[in-house]
Symmetry: C2
Subunit: 218 residues, 2 copies
DNA sequence: AGCATTTAATGAGCTGAGCTCATTTATACG
DNA sequence: CGTATAAATGAGCTCAGCTCATTAAATGCT
């Protein structure tokens, strides 16, 4: 049974075509297809089980590593970098999880949904902490931040898997953090700050006139 | 033949399970499965053809509507809103296209790849124009912007399709544009601006002293 | 140790979807 | 009207997922 799952994992990693894997597993293990169905009611259940186990182990490592990192930006950067790295190194497993997450809503929800909620909840927590500490604005739409981060990571990875060159998780993480933090617009003043500046400039102008009139400062 | 494709489109829209659609089409049209294979070498080719036609028509409308909009932010907002709306209204067709885009690199590239490149090239062009006009910073990583916009849109839509509430394309587009433009960090001054402010504040302080000493301004 | 009972494994074979092809039916043309 | 070309048919093949009656192995009990 553990053999079956290990073997399934190997095959799923090797060719991302999921057809015929039951026969393939049986062949490799020297057992018969029917035996596999003693342990897994259906091929889909076997695949989901493999995906779940992998996802769970991945999250455990994640938490351990994340625990040592402090600061909103550093923690965000780490999570993004980690996700990019995992997708870069384990695209087949990621695809399993993502396919399951995107399956029809009618299907019985697997525990992958729950694992995923736990996962993204960590990201939301980091952003919330950032808001609480005053580093991030209070009005940011939390779930959209999450969607853009993970969506961006995945899009970036698909392009890579499509064969459009390689990518560096470190650099990509840096780019994502930069965009999320600063945006892309040329910085302009907020109305308040702009107003303050204008008032200060008025003052400066008056002072200039004072100077030109040779009026002593004190 | 046109009947087959129209019928295939209807079925693909109705149930997002793609198994048995050949028999389904034949049944609905009162023909036999073999007839379908006179026009399409394989089921996959039929599906791709349907997806391509839909994608092409969608892009044509897109261009027509986009032509009437000026300004970097407005054009970006429109493209994002449009993509959100399409995914909201036609998730099944979008899934076909996306699945094809994410298929194995070994497969012969369909024209969907090319259509998609055209599509995202429009977005890149808008960002480039924004840089040229001075509205956007020159150092933004173009493809990552694209990945985050479209990835964010898709993630947002998957959550909706998973049954996690509805969403408003207009509001979602606004949120995405806001994040992309401003980022989420609390605004801080650039070194130059901070320096200028400091100098101005020094001036203001001196002026204050002048006023306190009752020295006439002129 | 020897028998009974429960559990595991087998392999033949069913199902259903994609697909093929020899044959039949319809259409076009001189 | 007859022939040539194109279109449609339906029987049936393949292959993957899956079932189940039967056989083999393991476990428990006296």
């Amino acid at each position: 049974m553990a053999d079956i799952m290990r073997c399934a994992g190997e095959i799923l990693r090797a060719h991302n075509d999921r057809d015929g894997i039951v026969a393939e597993i049986a062949g490799r293990l020297g057992i018969v297809e029917g035996t596999i169905y003693r342990y897994f009611p259906t091929k889909r259940d076997l695949i989901i089980q493999v995906a779940e186990d992998w996802y769970e182990a991945m999250l455990a490592d994640y938490d351990r590593e994340l625990a040592g990192i402090t600061g909103t930006a550093a923690r965000l950067r780490f999570m993004i970098w980690r996700h990019l790295t995992v997708m870069h190194d384990e695209p087949a497993m990621c695809r399993l999880v993502l396919d399951e997450l995107r399956a029809d809503a009618g299907y019985r929800k697997t525990s992958i949904y729950e694992l995923n909620r736990q996962y993204t909840r960590r990201t939301l927590a980091i952003v919330k902490d950032g808001i609480a500490s005053g580093e991030l604005r209070a009005d940011v739409p939390l779930t959209m931040i999450r969607d853009m981060i993970y969506g961006g990571i995945e899009h970036h990875t698909w392009a890579y898997l499509r064969g459009e060159g390689d990518f560096s998780p470190t650099q990509a993480a840096e780019e994502i953090v930069a965009i999320i933090y600063r945006g892309i617009a040329v910085p302009t003043d907020t109305p308040e700050r702009a107003g303050a500046l204008t008032r200060l400039e008025d003052v400066a102008t008056r002072l200039e006139r004072i100077a030109q009139n040779q009026i002593p400062e004190r």
